[in-house]
Structures are given as C-alpha cells and as structure tokens.
C-alpha cells in the first residue's frame, strides 16, 4: 500500500470555474462539488486510500461524456473515470484537483443479439446482470469475479478482471469484442469490432486492463457463451499444502483443464466454515475445489478422471457434489472468503500476486515466515489453476504500527512473487496500491515504454494520472528500481 501523504487542498476558484463550464450543459444534480455530495466518492473498494474529488460529474449521455472530456482537456483538469467503485487497488481514487467521472448512469443493456451471442452494454451494467439478462437464452457472460453482483463491466474492462473460471474460459480480454468510448480530447473512438479481429494494431488488448488511463469507455460488446448443461465440483482434502499443489499439477498433467480449480488453506477454511457452515473438512491443511462443466457425459467422464488423479495424489478425503444445491454449498465458502475473514479481524488486506504454480509450496512457506516476522496472521485463498494468490493479512487499521507492518508484509510477498517469475497483480490491478512494486517488476526502460503508450493516447497525461505506471522519480524515492543483470538501462543517463 502506498497511501498518498499530501492531500491537495481544493482550489475553490478552479472548482467554480470547472463547475460553471460543466453546468452550462448538465443539470446541477449531475455536477457535484459540495463536500457532502462528493464525500461518497472519496474512495473505491480500497478504503485505506481516500481523497475527496474537486468535482464529481455524472453524465448520462455520450455527448455529455465527450463535452466533459473536451472541457477538462482544454482546462488541463485531470479526469478519473469510475464504474461501480468496487476496485481493490485504488484505480478510481479521485484527485483533489480533478474531476471524478462516474459512469454509474450508463447502466443499460443496449442490445442482446441471440444469434450472434453478443450483448452491447453500457459500462455501468453489473457483471452478473449481463448473465441474468441472457439466462433465458441458455447463455452467460463467462468472466465471474467474486464481486460480480456489484462490479460493473466498465470496471472489468479497466482491470481485465478474471474470476474462478478463467483458466478454462479466459479473462475479460478474451471475452470482449469491442469497446466504444472517448479519448481525453473528447473524440469518439472504437476499439475492436463485431468481427473477431480488426485492422491495425490490436488496441483493444491495450485498452483492456489499462485502468482507465487511455480512454473512457461508454459501451462494451461482450461475447456470450452457452451455459454448460451440468456442473459438478469435487471437494478434496490434503494433509499438506505441498501435496495439494502437486495434485493441481497432476490434474493438468492428465490433460484436464477444470472449469474451476481453487484452494483454501486451513486458517481460511476455518474462517469460512464458521461463516457459511458448508461442512468443510476442518482437519485438512488444504482443501481443493475442482469443478467440471459440460454435457452430462463429459462431466461424468472428467469427474471420474479427476477423482482418480486426486486420490493418487494423496487426497485424504473427497466428496463430489450430487446436486446443484450441494455444488453451490461447496462454493459458498470460497466465494465468501473475504467477508468471512472480515468477521474474524477488524481489517484485512488482500494481496493479488501470481506465481508459476510449481512455486506454490515455496510461497506458502515464505508467507508463513512473514507471519512470524511481522506478528500478523495471513489465511490464504488461491486460484490454484492459474497461480493467482489472495493471501489475506489480518490487521487492525486503528493500530498504526499494525498497518505499517501489514504494508511491509504485503510488499515483501509481492516482491517474492516477482522473484519466483510471477507478477504483483493477477486481476485486481496496480492502481495506486501497488505502484511502488511496479518499480520492482519492471525496468526503467519498460516503465518508459508504458509511459510512451500512455502518451500515445493521452498526450497531456490527464486521464487517471498517477495510477498503474510509476514515474522514474517515484521509483527512485521508493528505492526499488528493477535492475537487469546488475545494470540499469542507459546507465549514462541521470535518473534522479
């Protein structure tokens, strides 16, 4: 975590100037500036970081979005786009000298094309609402982040959100055909198309996961896929975490790509069992959830194969869901891991590093050592299929020393993920939260390339500045510049 230390005091004259320009074409209720109106926007899902925005704009037409952007561009006012505000990395943290551009009013499903299996939706539409709207057609939208009841598709595009089924069905980038939006100058732009590809560079891939820094999204065309006829899950217990990790590798080695493959360690299992009473094995050191989906014949075949592999890998206990309620019960704890942990600790801090799966044992040992070092507990839930870890550090935010130790703990774990060949963030994004760790993962040259990409879309650096890509100056202050082969690129250049 890298909490901003110097919160700018709002420049009232500038605030009034911006409000006047925006209210010239939007009703007063859509342009907020009084503290009591802007306070609800001071943070997103990462509440450790707060900043009241100078102005909040709530457009409800594309033309308004375009005009807001062109005015901000002209006045050189930074713009922070925001969806549902559920992001976990502070990607929508407002700026005290900026406009917070809420897309909340863009909440309509524009069109559903059954034959083409696509839906055109506005960015404020919730992830789960898409699947609900097309359920009667036997279709759904595959990426399913755990926050899917609340998070919006615009935010999913900004973060390239995943979910528990993404090993088999892909991330947001694999399930979006087209993004319509506006550049910072207010110009309309389209990335991707209703076809499977588009001429020129694949800018759609660049927009997805760009944390609202390259363009503002106003419409997303998503792919819909057939709902599997059957889903079944195996719950398997292991008396040792490493064995569970090896079992995951053995499932993959057997040529199986499960629809979901999740792991919880013993402390996480204890926390969720107390919360959901799903009947988890409390003696297990690790629990695996392995899901199969497809036609009834396919699922029967795959479940039998997975059972054989898990048994051979030393599972001490396993059960297969015999009905849909049983399956949902098995998942209930995993899906509720965050709130369950929220009950056993005043605060928790969720990490999001990804590692090559083979390093699972090593990272878990490392986390155990960090628990001792910092005197903090850290249950683990883990997207085992794709190596994405969510260790949850338990702490009390009212104790400044605990908060500080938590930050140190998290930083060390993320750096370890990078050292193991992984990444600091698998799906929650860099935002403001992990911006210092970007200096560990990337070299000065790579960060310079990212900044050049940003400039290609936003020359003045007005769209969500300060997120995702750290400045060289910031990395120098952090003291964690990534060094390749003992040498900075261009060692002849002054850096600080």
């Amino acid at each position: 975590m890298n909490a901003p230390s110097d919160k700018p005091i709002i420049d009232l004259a500038r605030q009034q100037a911006v409000v006047a320009r925006l209210r010239a074409f939007m009703p007063a209720a859509q342009v907020l500036f009084a503290a009591e109106d802007t306070l609800p926007y001071e943070c997103d899902g990462l509440s450790a970081y707060r900043q009241v925005p100078m102005v909040v704009a709530l457009p409800n037409t594309e033309e308004q979005v375009s005009r807001i952007l062109s005015i901000c561009y002209e006045m050189q006012v930074p713009v922070v786009p925001r969806g549902a505000g559920t992001g976990l990395s502070g990607g929508a943290l407002p700026m005290g000298d900026g406009v917070l551009l809420s897309l909340a009013k863009f909440n309509q499903i524009v069109a559903i094309d059954h034959a083409a299996r696509t839906a055109r939706v506005q960015p404020g539409v919730r992830n789960l609402a898409i699947s609900e709207a097309v359920a009667h057609l036997g279709l759904y939208y595959a990426p399913d982040p755990s926050s899917q009841i609340a998070c919006s598709i615009g935010g999913n595009v900004a973060e390239n959100s995943g979910g528990v089924h993404c090993l088999k069905y892909g991330l947001t980038v694999h399930n979006v055909l087209k993004v319509k939006g506006y550049t910072i100058t207010g110009e309309a732009v389209e990335f991707g198309s209703a076809a499977l590809d588009s001429p020129g560079y694949d800018l759609l891939a660049l927009i997805i996961g760009s944390e609202g820094m390259l363009a503002v999204t106003t419409e997303v065309t998503v792919k819909l896929v057939p709902k599997p006829e059957r889903q079944q899950v195996i719950l398997a217990s292991f008396d040792n975490v490493e064995k569970a990790g090896n079992a995951v590798a053995a499932v993959i080695a057997a040529g199986i790509i499960p629809a979901g493959l999740e792991m919880m360690d013993k402390p996480a299992t204890a926390a969720v069992e107390e919360y959901v009473h799903a009947g988890y094995d409390l003696d297990a050191e690790a629990i695996l959830l392995c899901e199969s989906d497809g036609t009834p014949e396919e699922v029967a075949e795959e479940i039998a194969r997975m059972e054989a592999v898990l048994s051979k890998s030393g599972a001490t206990r396993f059960s297969v869901s015999a009905s849909e309620p049983e399956r949902l019960k098995a998942w209930s704890g995993r899906k509720a891991a965050f709130p369950a942990v929220g009950r056993i600790s005043p605060d928790y801090y969720c990490m999001d590093g990804t590692i090559p799966r083979k390093s699972l044992g090593e990272i878990l040992l490392f986390i155990a050592a960090m628990e001792k070092k910092y005197g903090l507990r850290c249950p683990n839930v883990f997207h085992a299929g794709d190596g994405n870890l969510h260790p949850l550090i338990l702490f009390n935010a009212n104790d400044p020393d605990e908060l500080h130790r938590t930050e140190q703990f998290a930083g060390e774990v993320l750096e370890k993920c990078v050292a193991l060949g992984g990444t600091i963030t698998g799906e929650h994004g860099v935002g403001i939260e992990k911006i210092n760790q970007m200096c560990i993962q990337f070299s000065a040259g790579e960060l310079a390339a990212f900044r050049a990409v940003k400039i290609a879309f936003d020359e003045r650096g007005l769209l969500n500045p300060g997120k995702n890509i750290p400045s060289l100056h910031r990395c120098a202050e952090f003291g964690g510049m990534h060094v390749h082969d003992g040498q900075l690129p261009h060692p002849e250049l002054p850096r600080f």
């Binding site: 034959a115 732009v189 560079y201 057939p226 090559p356 990337f442 040259g445």
Partner: protein
C-alpha cells in the same frame, strides 16, 4: 542473411540501423513474406536466435526464442499431448515462432467453442521485445493472469514486426482434445451460416468449421473436439456423414496451410473478417467460409473498393491476403484506419521505434 545469434548482436545491428536511418526487414523463415503491404529494408534474420527456453507441461506455458522453428515447438508439445490451440499456419517449412506472433494468423480452431477458443493474441502471455534503440524490454510474463502495466505483449500479435524485434515469446498451451471427429453435412450457404450460429449458442464442442460450394448447395465440414463422451453425443445430435480420420486430417491441414484446392491459382485471395451472423456476401468468384461464419475467403477479381464495400456493409473488414498475379500496386492490403486510430497508431509506432526502422510500410504505407 545475417546470422545474429545473440541479443548483443541484435542490439548492435539495431543501434547501427537507427543511427544511419537504415530500414530493417525482420524475417524468420520468410514463409509469410507474401503477407502485408510491402517488404523493404536490410534483412535482419532471426533464425540464428533459436531454442525453447522453458517448457513445463503442467504450467501450460512454453517460452521460446523468436527463431525457433514452429515445427520444433509443435513436436515438443505433441510429445506431451499438448498443442498451440490456435493452430498457426506454417505456410512453408521454415516458419518460426517469432513470425507466428508477428503475423498474428490463426488456423481453423480460432473460433472453437469454450476452452480452445482464441487467436494468437489470446494465447500470448509475455514477450521480450527489442525496441528501436536496441533495448530489450519484457512485457507480460509466464503466468495466466497478469495485469501489471499495459498489455503490450498482446499488441505485438499481428503488428508485423513494426514495433520492434520480438526476441522471445511465452505462449499458453493446452492439452490436445481426447476426442476428435469430423462430420460432413450437405447444406447451402444460408443454411450453413444459420446453423453454425445456432450451434454456437449450444454446448456443442465444435472445434472448427468450413463451408464451401455454390450458393445453392455446398458442403459443411465440422470438426468436433473435446472429451470423448461430448464428441460422441454431439456427433449423434448433429447428424451428417462421418469422415474417416486420415481424410479429415488432410482436409483441415489443407485449410490451415492453404494447400487445399480452393486456394490454388493466381486469382487474388481476400480475407473478409465479419460478424459470424453476417448474411451471404455477394461478390464474383469462389468462397470458403471458416470460423463459424466469421472468416470468409474470397478468390475474386473484384476491385479492392468493391470487396471493402461488401465487407464494410457486413460490419467487418477485408484484407488482400494473397495478391496473386494482379500484384499489390496501388492497393491497400489492410483496411485503412479511422483518423483517430491512425493518430494513436502513429504515436505507438513512434514510442517503440522512434527512427522508423522496423519493417516500414509492411502494415500501412505511412508507418
């Protein structure tokens, strides 16, 4: 051909070219030289920079240097019953993995249902790239989920080497399907497009499809791929005639490598990328439809303007894939971009290749 076998040698060659403003033409096996707007510059060969750097089947990732022959990668994967699901075409014996990524071309399985779905870009996990200043940069990595920084590595798919020299690439690999079966159904174009889209909305494991023939009657080939049980039940559900395995393999190989009789001759070959539901496109010549309706090949003497108008009316775009005897003189190979996208594209090119030395004119004349 220069045989640069190290990043140091590449870096030296690139810095020298940048200093003197000499355009470089990056090439692996040269099997896709026919593709793109134009070939200019001094050859910068990649075949000497070869080898699989890392392959662990249980991690579902292979990392290889750009000059590694595609055939070598496929052989290593096959030995572990794995594959590159997007079936990249070789178009010749010397195809390299760097060329696969740069060309961004995918084969018959690109529009498969479920697990196997996706193009080259969908399977890229990370790339090591040398920019126009001879600096090696890493983007992405070797893990499935990674949202640190902008997703530069996927943008390199189909960039035709214009952003830099791809040094190394990490690709997601998948297990080969346990069951494979090809069916042949007789139907006309309209029926085929309707049926393919209908099946696309059902849990049917269609891995590849191809329709060809006259408008009134034709043949729809379907390759079912997945768990044995799923393939068997889908085959019973869809009907048609079962094609013997060796004959089916030859057919799909012919499409992937464009050695099928449809692709023979000197008539220009156009690739229309359309929404899968687009109705039949009316152009003179012969047609072959792949990807569930989303990729339509036309062997036609129609003018570029006529082909592009048809593609655009159908909601897609058209590429002059092989110019044939007519040549490419005066024709835009790729559909021109809108002014706003042209501006972004120009600046991105400038960001990675400030001196404009990499494959100038290969993608668009102006970059």
């Amino acid at each position: 051909m220069s045989t640069n076998a190290s990043t140091e040698a590449f870096s030296a060659a690139i810095r020298e070219a940048a200093a003197s403003g000499t355009p470089l033409r990056i090439a692996g096996g040269g099997t896709k030289d026919f593709y793109g707007q134009s070939l200019t510059g001094t050859l910068l060969g990649t075949r000497g920079y070869s080898g699989v750097v890392d392959y662990e089947p249980t991690e579902l990732v292979i990392t290889a240097r750009c000059g590694t022959p595609l055939a070598e990668i496929e052989a290593q994967l096959a030995a572990q019953r794995q594959m590159l699901a997007f079936e990249p075409p070789h178009f010749g014996a010397g195809a390299t993995i760097g060329g696969v990524v740069a060309a961004g071309l995918s084969g018959p399985r690109r529009a498969a249902q479920g697990l196997y779905c996706g193009s080259v870009r969908d399977h890229i996990l990370g790339v090591k790239l040398m920019n126009g200043e001879g600096e090696a940069l890493s983007f992405g990595g070797t893990v499935m989920k990674n949202v640190a920084g902008y997703d530069v590595s996927r943008v390199l798919a189909g960039s035709l080497g214009t952003l830099g020299l791809i040094l190394e690439v990490s690709l997601k690999v998948l297990p080969r399907p346990a069951g494979v079966r090809t069916l042949l159904l007789a139907m006309n174009q309209e029926q085929a497009i309707a049926k393919l889209n209908e099946w696309g909305g059902l849990p049917v494991p269609i891995g590849a499809s191809a329709w060809s023939g006259e408008e009134r009657h034709g043949d729809l080939w379907l390759r079912l791929e997945g768990a044995e049980a799923a393939v068997k039940s889908a085959a019973a559900r869809l009907g048609g005639e079962a094609v013997p395995d060796d004959q089916a393999a030859t057919y799909w190989q012919g499409l992937r490598e464009q050695t099928d009789a449809f692709f023979a001759g000197d008539t220009p070959l156009w690739r229309l990328s359309l929404p899968a539901t687009a109705p039949a496109v009316e152009l003179p010549g012969t047609q072959l439809i792949e990807w569930g309706g989303a990729q339509r090949w036309y062997k036609t003497d129609a003018s570029a303007a006529q082909v592009r108008a048809a593609a655009s009316a159908a909601g897609g775009h058209a590429t002059l894939f092989r110019a044939g005897a007519a040549g490419k003189e005066g024709v835009d190979v790729f559909t021109p971009l809108t002014p706003v996208l042209t501006g972004i594209t120009r600046k991105l090119k400038q960001a990675f290749d400030p001196r404009g030395i990499f494959n100038p004119g290969r993608l668009y004349r102006e970059f």
